[in-house]
Amino acid sequence: MAVAPLRPSGPPDSPAQAFFHAAEATFERASRAGVVSRDLLLAGRRIRLEFAGEALLRPLTRALAHLLVAPKGEGDLTVLLWDRASTGVAAPPPPWGVDAYTVRSEIAGYNTDDFHTTFQTDTQSLLLFDGARMRAIYWTADAARLPTYDQAAPLRSILHWWSRRRAMQMVHGAVLAGEDGCVLLAGPSGAGKSSTALACLPSPLRFLSDDYSLLQFEPEPRIHCVYSVAKVGAADVDRMPHLRPMISNRWEVGREKAVFFLHEEAPEKLVGSARLRAIVLPDRCGGRDSALEPVSAAAALVALGASTHVQLPNAGEEVLRRLLPVVRSLPCLRLRLGTDVAQLAPLLVGLLRSLGRSPAS
């Protein structure tokens, strides 16, 4: 297997750089039994995943299966992945202390312009990124213990770090597409983003995202589907019986959200990307009827920025700066959510029709 030089020449390593190189060398040991490669094609760019063994293959690629392509050439980004339980190889011991673990999973003192270092305590996973060489590392304690919610949005920090260097931005929101483009539903957890997206599944609208997606800025705002997954709470499943046959994790619904792998259950409903036409803020207002009303660009920026910022490590000022021209250039609306979910799709289809005729692709 060809690997990049472990110690490029130049000034002394920063702590983050030295730790990355140590982890890269550890992957060599973990993968002695063989490397399994998979390529993803996302926004026209190839991402190479190199697994040490097969334990992480399904947990980390099930939600990305719609992006898999035959391996070819070099990846724009290469990710090395392994777990301790199946390989017997742990990540190098952390050189930092317990106080270095911060609330957004960033390791204090180990994040620079080029390097990112995070550890997610809930999933026991270490994610490293070298922006200069476009290489990343994913390590977790036990592939068999990755929670369903993490399998539904795998590698999102790595994809976030990669995309920000490619004039794109991972954004937190649900996305629905029609023939005329797509709408991005933004807002905090519980606002109604996912339930709106899934309520529209039986309609002519197609699904791009219910959680994280990739926003490309040029030549026009465009959303790319990253995860072919949707998640809603048990109460929403009760209100939308068409979802029940598609639930992938029946045994835990109630204490966890119901998870739907749409690539497997409803591939005809997925769309790879679409031109972004509007930003819509769902708002559970009570009552039966739903309606759209204008909202300020500031409100849309705040809604989209706040959840994107909080949920992605090392997201900083650039989130605001990058989203600003997008919200300025697009219509921003509030969706007053009523209980009659059948009204939602016609409202959004009508909105997309009124905003243009550029085809979704």
Partner: protein
Amino acid sequence: MAEPERFRINRPDVIHEILDGELVIVNLRNGAYYSLDPVGTVVWQEVERGSSEAEIVAEMLACFEGDAAVIEEGARSLLAELRREDLVTAAEGAPVADGRLPRDGRTAFAPPRLQKYTDMQELLLLDPIHEIDESGWPSRGT
């Protein structure tokens, strides 16, 4: 006589942008986003100039029509809230910036509203560090 207390925006942790007269403020330290209406934006711009509380109140009275006591209370309350949220802090010896933008006459006053918007639910789900395993990594515990 002591110099009046002046204020400054808590840079570099706090950044802001104006969209159609409405202010968006971000505290990069905790990811909290805020929106501030056009009335409150005047207070923010005065903070940015390095004005004292008395100067901020005077500018508000010059900009808006209404009961002077209500306008003064609105300005002082917002300033206190901005300080509580750590968006604004006391400035030491900061000079007052020159000039202000020309006003389009006085407009009706409405108490300014700072709306906070944060999505902390996901973060609250994160486990604290319970224990470290033999390899040095945090473990889930039992």
